[in-house]
Symmetry: C2
Subunit: 324 residues, 2 copies
Amino acid sequence: MPQVADPEIAALVRAEVECRWPDGVSGIDELVRYGLVPFGKMMGPWLLIRSSLAVGGQIASVLPAAVAVECVQVGAMMHDDIIDGDPQRRSKRAAFARFGEPSAIVGGDGLFFHGFAALAECQEAGVPVDRVARALTVLSQTGLRIGNAAIQEIRMGRRICSSTEYLNMIRDKSGALLWMACGVGATLSGADDAALTALSRYSDLLGVAYQIRDDLMAYDGTRAGKPNVSDVRNGRPTLPVLLAHQRAPREEQQLIERLLADTDSPVAERYEAMTRLVRAHDGVRAAREMSHRYARLAAKALDGLPASEHRAALAELTVPGRLV
Amino acid sequence: MPQVADPEIAALVRAEVECRWPDGVSGIDELVRYGLVPFGKMMGPWLLIRSSLAVGGQIASVLPAAVAVECVQVGAMMHDDIIDGDPQRRSKRAAFARFGEPSAIVGGDGLFFHGFAALAECQEAGVPVDRVARALTVLSQTGLRIGNAAIQEIRMGRRICSSTEYLNMIRDKSGALLWMACGVGATLSGADDAALTALSRYSDLLGVAYQIRDDLMAYDGTRAGKPNVSDVRNGRPTLPVLLAHQRAPREEQQLIERLLADTDSPVAERYEAMTRLVRAHDGVRAAREMSHRYARLAAKALDGLPASEHRAALAELTVPGRLV
């Protein structure tokens, strides 16, 4: 994910989180703080605040919602790490590896509930209550889209599917994650339908671009923080694998299929073989091009927003170099 | 939990659930329906609707919230079953045993998000939007209390604690579960502070009474549906165990402590030994008396509500015979 946290926005959100969950907090909040701190790239809060400003909103009114979105997204990651068995997150042990799976399940739940509680606080921060109610619908419906994608992803494991099926799944997984931020921010700030449509298309397209880029990093050697081998270990048919499979001759297609289904061979071996196949059949290059295409479309979608420095900042996220 | 579902209330909630998640629904909603149907005792929806009516509300306005509370409570159970490793729920396989743990984690999350989405619908059903926003705070804050209790319960496993510590934990675990229903219903229906205070005390006290009764059933041979051995397998120091421990001579105290800590002996053996010790040292009788005491206090708390058939119905739940 891009390091988008403009210093002022990041500082405000960090201060808000530190104030709510100071060092040494106990009970479920120990898990909540463990998930939130050290801070990640804060793409959610950043997108929420920029989307809000782009439609005429005020930072102070939506700051609790920025915390809300960070909570919900971190809660989803805490549960994802259990599902994927990924023991590292933000350069430390994942919550389940540190506190055990039961506590990490409950900790993720706590992050969701804190998210909704923080959203309700926007009323005291000056947002008209009918907008808070509409944002509640956006937050809960996007949570459901992400959950639906998670179920699809679990069921799509260890077999080849069409790239269309895969792209639809990641639109719900990563597109909805970005829309959660943009949609809640814009709704709280009274965006009109045209602005909401623009931001909805922008988030879906950018989410897909970002997810493809993230998938790529498993095979081009650049992924940091998270182990490179997670997708291979979990038999995830990500886009580079699917595109390489489309381009490979039948025998190597079968090799790819066997590697996805394989749960026995050492992961390092499977990873090396899959990386070789993905690169040999142009999966990395083809997926990178597709990611750039989605990013360009995301930039175009922003035409539906009034021009402003905030629209420009949102557009900057679509520049391939920024999508690191 | 008591079989409280008055036929009309139950029929309305069932129809609402069947309409939202009909047979054959797919994706995350397959998990959601699996958790909701067959219906449980529907104590949450029943309490929500009765509390609402007791303060002058309308069933039709709060019906989406009744579904919301059922969703959130079933989501919490879906996660609890993973944590406790209890493979049975509502006389069928628990979601994690049927669909796998990853899907059951995501399914529980989906039930939470559906709960918040359903709450938002109360506005279209006729509830003033400021009450919806206040109910959002009640729903999310009670979710946090329950999560906090779950973390405490995990940490209290396999060792003796004071009965006060235990009673505080179950007030947050089961009291908050009932308050989620009563508090959301009454808030949506415009209850004044006196009514909210009465219902809050009622739910906390009744929740403790119910939880002690539920704990007892592991040792008096009446628990149905859920395996009797779950608490012993998980080394849960429930009230009958704690009260027996208080009353036992030192040697048998040590036996109880060893049984809680034991993760090796066959569960059936541990269960038999613990049941013998709990009964021998009066744990069942002493805990039952305490449950009755809490139920009487719960009935008394209702004095703060205006007299009505709905208050009477809420009071009836505190009669020990009803608490089955």
